[in-house]
């Protein structure tokens, strides 16, 4: 029997996640990355987003950009190796999209992965839901 999550943040079943509260959605050969509802909620009003240019090489575990809210800078980390194909200019121009629609119009970058199966190191939505449950219990 399925159990209801105890946390208060939205998690979508159509995508994967990482432990840094970022989502990854498969889109044919590309992967789209964004921040989760947890990130936007805990950050507060996001005032600035710094995203990489197309062509930037991503290295797993290394920062690829940052967001700022209330004088607080949060880093964005590459969940796998790859190359940035596109960055969301709308987010750069209007960072509040990250608060308003983190899973949709607030996507950050599209990446061509340079490894065969990037999903292997990611969390399913069920795994990520459990991670949030644990966070909310603390």
């Amino acid at each position: 029997m399925a159990t209801e999550p105890i946390h208060r943040w939205r998690v979508l079943a159509d995508r994967f996640y990482d432990t840094r509260h970022q989502w990854v959605l498969e889109d044919d050969l590309l992967l789209t990355l964004g921040i989760t509802d947890y990130t936007q909620d805990t950050a507060g009003d996001i005032l600035y987003a710094s995203l990489p240019s197309p062509g930037t090489v991503l290295e797993k575990g290394q920062p690829f950009g940052s967001i700022e809210s209330g004088k607080w800078v949060g880093q964005l980390y590459a969940p796998f190796d790859g190359v940035v194909i596109a960055a969301n200019d709308q987010v750069s121009e209007n960072p509040q999209l990250l608060n308003q629609d983190p899973y949709g119009r607030g996507w950050l970058i599209k990446v061509r992965p340079s490894i065969a199966n990037p999903r292997e190191s990611l969390l399913t939505h069920a795994d990520y839901t459990r991670l949030l449950d644990e966070l909310d219990e603390r």
């Binding site: 805990t42 950050a43 507060g44 005032l47 600035y48 710094s50 940052s66 700022e68 809210s69 209330g70 004088k71 607080w72 800078v73 949060g74 880093q75 966070l135 603390r138």
Partner: protein
Amino acid sequence: MPLYLVGEVNWLTSQALYHGLPVLQEEGVILCWPKEPYVSLGCHQDWDEFDETSGIPVVRRQVGGSLVYLDDQQVFFQIIASPSNHPSLKTPEHWYHFALNPVVAFLNHLGFEAWFKQPADILIRDRKISGNAGGQIEDSAVVVGNILLQFSPEHMARVRAGSPVLKDAFAESMTRHLVTLNDLSSPAKTWTREEVMRLLAQFFHQEMGAEIQSSVPWKRWRQALNQAGQRLLDPDWLHQAGYRPPYHQVKVREGVYLRQTRREVYRDIIAEVNTESQTITALWNSAIPVSPPLNAEEVREKISDSSLRRILYELLDVRTKDLSLS
């Protein structure tokens, strides 16, 4: 968490410390001050906001906030913590409270009614005595700030890009909105940096459980600090473009900004805006026969020139179509 009474260091080391400890995966509270004056730009701040003709050293930090002038009349506190050791701290607000509560307690102990103003200022009598910023560096949460012992608004205004009128307005506004420990104390009392550092250390111990160390492990830190210092001065990092609001904006304290339009008309007018009350609290270079304070309604009622009204609405962040004010 260890607390290090670092004291006086060169200007670059005063920034490299809190950028280097996360690389070493070390926690710590650092208390220090810079030997020389310099400017620190916020992580996402536009390089053009710095006045290069000021001839003062400049660095760009990896935490938030805007341009600040720093010198040896400010005692810095820098808190570097591992989130895994503090699982209850999840949001920037949690981290700021955790890091700044000891500073508020210290000021209260001196008899001042200090309070934390979100997101990251400490105020006394509605005037800022401590500006702070934070963020994630490597896997650490970092909060940094300072206590003003003395402060020169003129020096701060000098390093900020802008017209002479903007600089004068900025200095005047800071004089009204900032306060220092020496301003608050009796004329007979002049605070020393050592005295403030040792008192702050007591409160970080009392409120946070920080353990005061008898020495600073320079040998262990040296390489990481050198590398952090080099990163912060890398020209590509330093000269970045950044956040550009629709108007020129200079922050005075949380909720108080000087704003100037980027448009061709009325570009000399400088408004001091209280963003919480959405009120213009002072005006410079304005020929209008109306004295501030002015909220959007008063702008509509008292200013007949429609293009000036639009400029003032813009500086107030008022959407005219929403309020039918135009």
